[in-house]
Each structure stands twice: as C-alpha cells, then as structure tokens.
C-alpha cells in the first residue's frame, strides 16, 4: 500500500472547542492516573497481585500518554492526536471490560448458553429480514421500491431481534438485576465507557484530524494499528502477560492461592541440583555415599572400572526429561517418515486417492481423550483386542502348521518396558495423517515441469523422489519436523488418560508437561511448576532454533 503524505484538504471547522476539551480531559486523566498509581504503589487497594501490576502498567501508560497529549495537542502536532486516541481507546476498552466484569457478564455466559436456544427461532426471523433487506439491492434502478423493500426487511429484522432478546432475557430477574447494579463502581465504569468513547470520537473526527495536521499516511498508520489492536491486545493480555507472570512465578514459592514469596533461583536450583559420588562396588547402597535428606538415587553407572552414582534433588524431573526426550526420539521418525511415504502414494493419480486422503486425516481431527480411551481398551493385557488378536493368530499358526507356539501377551500399559512405546505408537498413528496432508500440500506445490524435465533426462521415479521431491520439500519437512518435535516435547493428554497412575508404571511414562501439571495442580506448587515450564521452553527453543539454522543449508530456490 502506498500512502500519500498529503495534508487533508478540508477546513478544520468546529474542532477547536473539542481540542480544548480534550486537553482538559487529558489533564484530568493524568491526575486520576497519578492518584491511582499512588494508591496502588502504596498498597492501599486490596487487589490480586496480577491485577495490581496490570493496573500499574495501564495507569502509567495512560498517564504518560496523556502528558504527551497535553503537550502536543496545543501545538497542533499530530503526535498529540495519536497519543490521545491511544489513551482514550485503551481507557474505553478497560472500562468496558470492567463494566462487563462487574455486572457479571463473563460468569453469566453459561446461563446465556442455556437460555440462548429459546431465541434461535426469532434469530431465524431476523435472518429472513436480512435476506429481504439485502434483496432490495436488486432494485437499484428503482429507489422507491428499494427503500420500501429495505424498510420491510429492516422491520422484520428488528422484530426478530427484539423477540429473540425477549425470549433470551429472564425478564422476571431484570428489575433486581438493574437495581442491584446501581453501585458506584458500576456507574463509574459506565461513565468511563461513555467519556473515553466520547473523547475517542471527538479526536477521531475529520475536523479534529485536520486541525492536528494529520495527513493520509499518518491516518492510515493509525487505522492499521486499530485493525491490529484486537490481535495485539489479545497477544499482550493472553500470551505475553501470562508468560511474564509465569516467569515471575518461577522465582516464587506460590501455591496458587496465597501470596507469592520471592525465592530467587531456588526452584531452578532444586530442579538442576545433581551430585556424583563414587561407589565402592556396583551394589553399594546409594545412601552410604550421598546425602539422602537432599538427593535420591537417579542413575548408577560404571566407567573405566569404577562405579558411580548420580543423585538428584528432584529425581522425577530428570526421569520426566529423559522420558520426554525418548518419546520425541521415537515418535518423530514414526510420525514423519511414514507420512512422507504415504504422501508420495496419495500424490499419485490412482483411483480412490481422495478417499484415502480423508481416511488418513480422520485420526488427526478425532478428540485426543476419546482416541486415548479406545487405545487404552485395545491395549488391555487381559481383555484387549490387540492381545486377543495375537492369541488368535498364534492359535491359527499352531493349528495350520502343527506347531506349539506360546502366544505372547504383552502388558502394553502396565509394564515399564512397553508403556512408553505403546503411547508412541498411538500418538504416531494420530499425528501421521496431519503430517501426510502437509507433505502432500508441499508436493503439489512442486511444478510439474520439473518432473517432466527429469523424465526427459532419464530419471526414474525413485531418482525423481530422491533428487527432486525431497530437496524441494525442504521447507515443508522443516515445518513438519518442528511442529512434531514441539508437540512431542509437550506430550500430556494420552499419558494422563491411558496410564494409571498417570506417568506409570514406575514413572516410565512420566513426561515433563505431566510432571509440571502434577506440581502445579496436584501438589500446590505453581512456582515450581513454572520453573519446569521455563526450563522446558528453553529446551524446545534451542531444539527449534537448531532446526531453523539447518533449514538455511537445505532450502532450494525454485
């Protein structure tokens, strides 16, 4: 988009009065924000900690923004308009959210979900009204008829919506609702919504923009940020904010309910605290060489004729980390390599390929919990279908070949030797279809002309696949590998559902995220769980970074 840096040409009539009002308004905002900051800083307001810090940030932003607006608006500097719009827009949003919170809108949405179906037939009427309204566009050449049809459509829409509202709202509770909401805090937030909204409107108007010497380019920039704002604010509030909060929490001993006491790096120190001690012989008990009040035996090994034991202050963390790496090592090849082969087959023009594409994709869209429960049943060692199938197959072999083979009955989920593998198979099966579709999309983006040229050069199907398809699939492969590895490192649901106790047997399926969950939600250790989360984040970040670095060496330009 090319912005033309030309001042707007219309005269700035009627804007001066509003600009004076805006300056006064921003002075009031500065004073109000300063008072609020003082109260929050002195701990006068009894608020949850995260609300307090959020409020401090928001008030500081509004105070500094308003100071800028007070300075720049009298100079008719366009920066004053930008700052004023930013402050009033944020103020409007905060007041709206606060109003909805205080009137109970957010906690009432479950009730709304229950009552909403009552209004659906009337919403159908409103939709019919909309269709009639839109139908009026056919009469562009007959304005009177167009307006008449629009009126009819609008009336039907309005009637439908009013009836829907009447059906949805619990009218008997409305008087009590209104009376109860006549509280200072609700009225104040309502006034905030009105005032900030009004000031936004006043500054947004064309006369004010002209008076502030806003050109088209600057206007388009502001409009761009306005369109971006829902996503940006959502990111800041629901991703960046919680991330920072969890980082801070990782330095505390917060249990999820009480106050957060700062403990510095204690959580990280406990997680990473290891000790190494030599053993007199390989069978010597660990409690004779390491302090068992702090450490548990993690691993013992022999090296150059000597035996050693490694103790860990948190043995389970290291076991979880080992299991997570092992899971990733097993599941990534199983979920990626067959997907590549399948994609190559599905990319052919054999009949029925569209059907098979859908079939392979179905597991990816199935709910994890449902799939995990089915696999859990199949894996049951005593009455499960897999062992039953093995039993019948061996019986068939014995009767057909006159042998006396004993059917193995693996304890898929109750043996430490097989439990993780059983979950790897289930997850690989579920992810396979999604990866296949990604590879398929990548293959279909490769120009056919390259294959035709390769055919002319005498390359067979295998040579084409190895020397053409695979290199050109580089970016897709990196994406598939990255997403599969990241999801493998975050494995949680199948283990939580399929193993009993979760992470068993004997911690052989305990994953890092499951251990994080157990600490945060079952052992009241949110601070410790946050530290685990950040260590896991660092590991995933490094692995992903290495992959993307390698991508630079393997991608090809078409």
């Amino acid at each position: 988009m090319t912005a033309v840096a030309q001042p707007m040409q219309q005269p700035a009539r009627g804007a001066e009065g509003w600009l004076t009002v805006l300056v006064v308004w921003h002075v009031i905002v500065v004073l109000g924000a300063a008072a609020g900051l003082w109260l929050l800083w002195m701990g006068q307001a009894a608020l949850p900690e995260w609300v307090r810090w959020f409020s401090i940030g928001a008030l500081a932003l509004m105070a500094f923004g308003s100071i800028g607006a007070v300075i720049f608006i009298p100079r008719r500097d366009h920066r004053g308009r930008t700052l004023s719009l930013m402050v009033n827009y944020i103020g409007f949003l905060i007041c709206t959210v606060a109003l909805l919170q205080w009137i109970g809108a957010f906690t009432g949405f479950d009730e709304l979900a229950d009552r909403f179906p009552r209004g659906l037939p009337f919403l159908g009427v409103a939709f019919v009204g909309y269709l009639v309204y839109a139908f009026a566009d056919r009469y562009e050449t007959m304005p009177r008829r167009q307006r008449a049809v629009q009126r009819v459509g609008g009336f039907i829409m309005l009637a439908g919506l009013l009836l829907a509202v009447a059906a949805i709202i619990a009218w008997e509770a409305v008087p009590a609702f209104v009376l109860e909401r006549l509280q200072p805090v609700i009225l104040a937030s309502l006034a905030g919504v009105a005032l900030f909204g009004l000031m936004c409107w006043a500054m947004w108007r064309r006369p004010a923009a002209q008076a502030m010497h806003v050109n088209n380019a600057r206007q388009e920039t502001i409009e761009g940020y306005l369109f971006l704002s829902p996503n940006l604010l959502g990111f800041l509030l629901f991703l960046a904010g919680p991330l920072l909060l969890s980082l801070y929490t990782s330095f505390t001993n917060w249990d999820g309910f009480g106050t957060r006491d700062f403990v510095g790096l204690a959580n990280y120190a406990k997680l990473l605290n290891l000790t190494l001690a030599p053993l007199a012989d390989a069978r010597q008990p660990a409690n004779q060489v390491i302090d068992m009040r702090i450490y548990d035996e993690l691993w013992r090994f022999s090296f150059f004729g000597g035996s050693y034991v490694i103790g860990a202050a948190d043995k389970l963390f290291w076991i979880a980390l080992r299991n997570t790496f092992l899971f990733g090592l097993l599941v990534v090849p199983l979920a990626v390599l067959p997907a590549l082969g399948l994609a190559a087959i599905l990319n052919s023009k054999l009949p029925g390929m569209k059907f098979f594409r859908a079939v392979y994709f179905i597991p990816s869209v199935a709910a994890v919990v449902g799939v995990a429960l089915i696999w859990q049943w199949m894996y049951n060692a005593t009455v499960g279908w897999i062992n039953y199938g093995i039993l019948r197959a061996v019986e068939l072999l014995n009767s057909a070949l006159g042998m006396a083979l004993v059917a193995p009955q693996p304890r898929w989920l109750s043996s430490s030797d097989t439990a993780l593998i059983a979950i790897v198979v289930m997850v690989a099966w579920q992810v396979l279809g999604f990866n296949t579709i990604l590879f398929l999309a990548g293959m279909q983006n490769i120009p056919r002309v390259l294959y035709e040229a390769a055919t002319v050069d005498g390359a067979g199907a295998w040579r084409q696949f190895v020397n053409l398809t695979l290199p050109l699939l580089g970016p897709t492969t990196v994406f598939v590998l990255s997403t599969t590895i990241i999801s493998a490192f975050q494995i949680f649901e199948p283990i939580f559902i399929m193993t009993n106790p979760a992470g068993g047997p004997n911690n052989s399926t305990l994953s890092a995220v499951l251990y994080l969950y157990q600490n945060g939600f079952q052992r009241f250790s949110q601070g410790y769980a946050s530290a685990i989360a950040w260590l896991l984040f660092l590991i995933i970040f490094v692995v992903t970074l290495v992959q993307y670095r390698r991508q630079g060496n393997t991608s090809y330009e078409l």
């Binding site: 009137i103 009432g108 709202i169 008997e172 049951n380 009455v383 649901e493 047997p505």
Partner: protein, 452 residues
C-alpha cells in the same frame, strides 16, 4: 437507514441482548436472605426472587449417580426455605475433579459447597480454601459430630493451629470399605472353597485366600484368581492386615519399611510374582472380572452398580484376615465442605446438614454406590436391604473390623508421598524391585514429602 447504520444498530442490539441475557439470571444470587419468600422448586436457572442461590458439587461415579444427586438437589431445593440450589456434577475422564475444583477456587468461581476426598482435607484447610464451621455447628441445635463414624470425624475436626479437635471442616458424604467381589460360577467351576462360608466360620485368612485364587487360576492361562487396581488402597490393606501402615503413629514420618508393612507387601508381591494368581499389576482388573475371567476382584462399594450388570452369579465377601488378626480394611470417606469464599455461610451450613441427613444418604445408598456416613443401626439396616449383593453384611463387617480411616496429612504433602509410594510399590509388584531394594530406599525418598 444506510447499510452501515443498520449494521451498527443491529450489532449493538444483539450485543445488548447477549450481555443482558448473560447477566440477568444471575441477579438473585446476591440478594440478601432477609425477607426471603417461599422457596420455589423451579428450574435452577431461574430461582425464585429473594432466595439465596447456592451452587454445590460432588463427583458422581456414573450417570445414574449424577441423576440421583440432581434429584436430591431438587428435593432439597423445595425443602430448604429461602435457598435455591444448583447441582453441578464434577469430574470426567479428561478433567480431574480436584484439579478443576482447585482452579475454580483460585479463580473465585467455585461452588458454595463441594465434595472433596478425605485425603485432601488438610491441603484445602491449611490454605484456607474451606470454611471452619465449628462455630455454626456449635450454634445448631441437635447437631453432634458423634452421629458420624469417628474415623473421618477425627480428621475433620482436627485444628492444625491449636493441635486439638476443635475445628469442623465439613461433614462426610458417605463411607465405604473394600470387599472381594466373587465370581461364584468361576469359583464353583474351579472347585474352590466358598469364601463366604469360610468367613462365617472365621477361617477366611490369607492362606485360604491363596488357595481359592490358585484354584481359579488353574482354570486357564487367561483366567485369574484375584484382581485389584494399582493405587494405594489395595496394597494398603495388605500392609494394614500385617500390622503395618503408611505412616508412623502421629503421621509425621514414613513407616513403609517397618517389618509389618514389608510383610504385607511381600505377601502381595507373591500373588503377582511367585504364585502368579493375579491380574497383572497395573492392568484395570474390572474388565476381566466383568468378562468372567477373574475369580475375586477387590474394590469398594462404589463398584457395585457396575457389577450388577454382569451375567454370572456373584456376591461379595470381606477381605481375608492377615497376621495382625484383622483384614486391614480402609474406611474410605469424602466430605462436603464449604467454600471459604462463599457469600452465604449460614445457608451453606444448612445445605451441608441436609446433604448428610440419613434420608438423603439413603437415596445414594439405594443406588448401591456407598454406605451412609451416619453411625446408626437404622442406617445399617436400610443399607442391608439394598441388594444385590446378597452378602451386604460384608461391607459392614469391613467397617467394624479395625478399619483404618483414610486421612489427610496435616504435616507434609499427601500427593508427593503417594507419588513416591505408588511408583515404588508398582516396581515391587511387577518384579522390577526386590523387597530388600524397596526397604533400603523407600523411606529416604518418601520422607521428603514431610519437608514440603
């Protein structure tokens, strides 16, 4: 009207209707209880004006139980003047009941009254998440903690600040004990002695148990003599029956390496390893029992509704007596507690009492799920009529035979302790660890839970 204005006007109207639709029904929740009119047993979404609206939650084990609780909620709604009730069944395969509840408490959206397992009472009480209702109870005419089984009440009245039993954190919803569910057809086919008859003669001990289990196991490679699920309840009974237990006397240190506890665990390990009579440890034992492939299945009263659907002849018998002279059974319980942040503690206390009344508990017991938590011959007599199983007396015998009440840890962390214990016992039962290896390290590991 232009398209744009029409769109804006309609959008605002829809937004307004949605917000008002969401807000309006919640209005009576915060109404003062003074001046309350007659309670209306109407649908929960529209409580009568002036009523105090209370939300309550418990964890049903199946849909039938959820329906009974919903019915109880409707009845109490009509019975409790000035209170409107809304029942929320909690827990599912994908969302642990307690974890969801804790999250809601932290968020300020938890129900006014909720059920928690007995082992969780300390964690909730120490953090101030549930209300100490001792004062309300003291002011209630006719209320006595002695009306309930003493084991749970010992834990529910403990005050960690005073060290005395002068608090009240809730009231037990129900109690249960373990029994052995018997596939009588399988036992008869194996020619095994009848455990119920042996119990009546006082000969139902560990040796007799092994004899029956081995006889059934002899029926085939896919037929098992005994099955139990992999959690602390089943293995705890073997330890208790040998005279051991999880903790020392004042529950401040590990007792898993005591000779008695080890004797119990060693006996159980033999069932899985040397004798090979049990459904492999860690496998869900209910499916093979229901499929007619296990002779004895150890579980609580809560399994009864499911077992009632099997097609073979079945009954129950108490657990066999161990070297300590008793069966080492547990007295399982969970409690209704009041959210510390409830706006209506007095009404919540009324609800708590109503939920634990004999008549309310009888409805749950009739379904077959659990045993009333009130100590009264009337309640026991009523429970015995809720058949099958014919031998309901086995549950009552379990309660009366030195049953150890499950309980919370007021010092230390029960979840951390049980994590260490579960993993090590599992390693023992699957043969990955010897009893000597287990004994050498278990308390070093488990005692760290008391430092949390």
């Amino acid at each position: 009207m232009s398209h744009k204005r029409m769109s804006v006007a309609l959008s605002l109207l829809v937004l307004f209707s949605l917000v008002l639709g969401a807000c309006a029904p919640a209005a009576p929740a915060a109404q003062p209880s003074a001046g309350a009119t007659e309670a209306a047993p109407a649908e929960a979404a529209a409580p009568a004006a002036g009523d105090v609206a209370l939300r309550w939650r418990t964890r049903p084990d199946n849909q039938e139980e959820a329906a009974v609780y919903a019915k109880i909620s409707d009845e109490l709604d009509a019975k409790l003047e000035g209170i409107s009730l809304s029942y929320e069944p909690g827990g599912s395969e994908g969302a642990s009941y307690q974890d969801q509840l804790k999250t809601e408490i932290a968020n300020g959206t938890a129900p006014d009254v909720f059920w928690i397992p007995g082992t969780d009472v300390a964690d909730f009480a120490k953090r101030g998440l549930i209300l100490n209702v001792a004062d309300l109870a003291a002011a209630t005419e006719g209320f006595s903690v002695d009306a309930f089984y003493p084991g749970p009440m010992e834990f529910l009245t403990y005050n960690p600040e005073s060290g005395a039993n002068d608090a009240l954190w809730g009231l037990p919803r129900d109690v249960s004990t373990f029994v052995l569910y018997l596939n009588q057809d399988l036992l008869a086919e194996a020619g095994a002695p009848d455990p119920i008859a042996l119990a009546a003669e006082g000969k139902w001990d560990w040796d007799a148990f092994v004899e029956v289990a081995a006889a059934v196991r002899g029926l085939g490679s896919d037929i098992y003599g005994y099955g139990a699920n992999a959690w602390w309840g089943p293995y705890g009974t073997w330890m208790n029956a040998a005279g051991g237990g999880f903790f020392n006397a004042d529950r401040t240190a590990c007792n898993l390496d005591s000779p008695e506890s080890l004797a119990g665990l060693e006996f159980e390990q033999r069932l899985y390893q040397d004798l090979d009579v049990a459904v492999p440890y860690g496998e869900d034992s209910e499916p093979p029992f229901r499929a007619g492939k296990a002779g004895m299945f150890q579980n609580g009263r809560w399994a009864t509704p499911g077992i009632r659907n099997v097609t073979f002849n079945w009954d129950v018998v108490e657990l066999p007596k161990g070297p300590a002279g008793h069966a080492g059974n547990w007295l399982f319980w969970g409690a209704y507690a009041i959210n510390a942040n409830t706006q209506h503690p007095e009404e919540a206390w009324k609800l708590l009492q109503a939920l634990t009344e004999a008549s309310t508990q009888a409805q749950i017991s009739a379904l077959g799920t659990n045993i009333p938590s009130r100590v009264s011959q009337e309640a026991i007599d009523a429970f015995l009529t809720f058949t099958p199983p014919a031998n309901n007396q086995a549950f009552i015998n379990g309660l009366q035979d030195n049953a150890t009440a499950e309980g919370p840890l007021w010092v230390g962390s029960w979840p951390s302790y049980v994590t260490v214990m579960d993993a090590n016992v599992q390693a023992l039962m699957t043969g990955e660890k010897t009893i000597d290896d287990f004994a050498a390290t278990i308390c070093d590991e488990a005692n760290k839970a008391f430092q949390e």
